[in-house]
Amino acid sequence: MKELFPAKQVWGFVFSLILTFVALLVYFFNMSKATGMTIFILTAFIQAAVQLVVFMHARETDDSKSIFMTLYCAIFLALITVFGTILCMVWGWSY
C-alpha cells in the first residue's frame, strides 16, 4: 500500500496550498509594501521550485542534469534581463 500512495505528491500539494495561503495573507492583513512584496517574491519562487521538482518530475529521469543546467541558465539570464532593464530604465534613467 505504501508504494501505491504518492506521498511526495500529496505533501507537495499540501505545501503549495500553504504557500498560496501565506501569499493570501498580504491581502487580508495591513502590512507595508516592502513586507508584502518580500512575501510575494519568496512564496512565488518556492512555489515554482515545488512545482518543478515535485509535479514536473525534474529530478526523476536521467536527464535531470541537463534539465537543471537549462533551468539555472534560464534563471541567470532572466535575472540579467530584469536587472539590466531596471538599470537602463529606472536606476540609470537621466531624463
Partner: protein, 651 residues
Amino acid sequence: MGFFSRFLIPNPSPVIYSSMVAIGVTVLLIIVGLTHFKKWFFLWSGWLTTVDHKRIGIMYLISALLMLFRGGVDAVMMRAQLAVPDNKLLDSQHYNEIFSTHGVVMILFMAMPYIMALMNFVVPLQIGARDVAFPRLNAISFWLFFMGAMLFNISFVIGGSPDAGWTSYFPLAGNEFSPHVGTNYYMIGIQIAGIGTLMTGINFLTTILKMRAPGMTLMKMPMFTWSALVTSIIIIFAFPVLTVALIMGTMDRLFATKFFTMTEGGMDMLWANLFWVWGHPEVYILILPAFGLFSEIIPTFSRRNLYGYRSMVASMVFISIYSFFVWTHHFFTMGQAAYVNSIFSITTMVIAIPTGIKIFNWLFTMWKGRIRFTVPMLYSIGFIPLFTIGGVTGVMLAMSAADYQYHNTMFLVAHFHNVIIPGVVFAVLGAGTYYWPKMFGFMLNERIGKWAFWFLTIGFCLAFFPMYITGLDGQARRIYTYSESTGFGPLNMISFIGATLMAISFVLIVYTIYYSIRHAPRDVSDDPWDARSLEWATHNPVPEYNFAIIPQVNSRETFWDAKYKGHELFKGDYEKIHMPNNSGVPFIMSCIFFVFGFALVFSIWFLAIIGLIGIFVCMAHRSFEIDHGHYISVEEIKETEAKFGGVNKWK
C-alpha cells in the same frame, strides 16, 4: 463596401498595382500548372504533409531564396531612390514601407529560414540520427514560419505594409502615428513565424542532446552541430521575450492597452528595450550557425582538421551567454546615464575577443593546408577579411561616447550589413553550394558560381563601404532623399552600382541552379568534396532513413577515419527501421493560423474566433490521435542499399 474598403492600400502607386497583377498571375499559373501536370497529389503527399527533416530543409531553402529575391528587390529600389539627390522615384511613405519590409524580410524570412534549412538538413545527418526528435513538431515549425512570412508579404497588396522600420519602435508604431494596418501585419506575422522558430529551438536542442550516434560525446560533435546546439539554446531563451513584446504591442494596437504609450502609465522605450533583449541574441542566432558552416567548409577544402576545436566550442558558448548582456548598445542615445552606457560598452567590446579567437582558428586551419579554391571555399575566404572589417566598425560603434556620432547614420547601416552579408549570406550561399549534392544529387556549376561570388563580393564592397563615409559625414538612415548641397550624391551613386552588381550576382546564382539542373552530371559520388564528417557517409541522394545502420563514432572526424584510417563505421546487420508517419495536420493548422492572423490584422473578430477554435481543434486532434509510425522492412532496406552499392562502398 464599407467592409471591403479596409483591404485597400492607403498609399497606392503604379508599382504596387503592377505587383498585384504579377502576384495574381503567378498564383493562377501555379494552380493551372499543378492541375495540368496532375501534380496536386504529388505536392500533397510528398511535400505538404512530409515530416522528413530533409524535405523540410529543402522547403526552408526554397522559401529563403524566394524571400531573398523579395528583400533584394526592396534593397535595389532603396538604392535607386538614393542614387541621385532629390530623386522622385519613390515617395516618402513608399520608401518607409520598403525599408521596413526589407529589414524584416531579410532577417526573419530570409536569413533565419536559410539557417533553418541547413540545420534541418545537416544536423540529423551529422549526428547519425534518422530524423529530429519531434518530426511532427518540425513540420509545424516550418509551416508556421511559412504562413507567418506569407502573411507579412501580402501586406503590400492588401491593406498596406508596415512603415515603422524593422525595429517598429513605439510610439511611432502605435495607433496614433501608424493608423493603417501595416504594423498589425508586422506584429502578427512575426509572432506566427516566431512561434515556429521557438519550436525549432526546442526540437534541435532535444535532438542534439538525445539522438547522437553511439560514441559521439559532446566534445566529438562536428562544429556545425555544436553551433546548432548553442543557437537552439539562444533561441529558447531569446524568443519568448519577442513573443511577449509582440503580444503587448498587438494589444496596444488592437485592444487599446497602454503598455507602450507615452501617457497613462505606458512606457514607449520599454518596447525598444524588450525588442533588443531579443534582437541582440537574434543576431547571434544568425551568425553562430554561419560560423559553424565555415568551420565545416574550411577544414574540408584545406585538407586539415579544424584548428583549436576546444577554443571554438568555448568561444561559442561564451558568445551565447554574453549575447544576453549587451542589448543596451542598440540605444545608447536613449537617455540612460553615462555609467549605464559604459557598462554595456564594455560588455559589447568583450564579445570581440571570442570572435577574434574564431577568426584566428580559421586562419590557422588554412595555414599550411592544401587549399582548393572551390565556390564554398571562396565564400569562406572572402568572409574572413570582410567580416573582420565589420567587426572592427562594430567595436567603434560599441564606444558609447562615439556612438552619439554614429547613431542612426549610414555608418551603422554599413556596419550591420558588413557583418550580416559576409557573415551570414556568404555562409549560407557557400554552404548551399557545399551541401547541394547531398540535397539534390548533382553539383552546382563551379564556373558560374565563381562569377556569382565575385559579383557579390565586389558589389558588396561598392555598395557598403561608401556608406561608412557618408554616415560619418552625417547622412542619416531611413531618410528618403537628400539635397545636392550635402554632397552625398556621388558616393550614393557608387552604392547603387554596387547594389546592381549584387542583384546581378543573385541572377547568376539562380542561373547556376537552372544551368546545373539542365546540364550537371547526375552520377556524383556520395562524397564529392572529400569531406570529413558523418553527413557524407550516407548515400546520395540520402535515403528516407538516412543511415541503414547507425554509425559508430570514434573521433571528431569519424568519416575521415573511416576513409583513411580503417575505422569501421557501420557494424552489425540491417534491422527494421522505425519511421514517423506523414501528417496533414501541421499544414492545415498553419493555414488556420494564417486565417486567424489575417482576421486579427483587420480586426474581423468572428473570423478570428473561428480560427482560434480551429487551432485548438487541431491540437485536440493530435492529443487523441493514435500514431505509432511505420516500419521499413529489412528487405526494403536491402533493396535500397543494393541500388546505392552497400553501406561501406566508399572504403
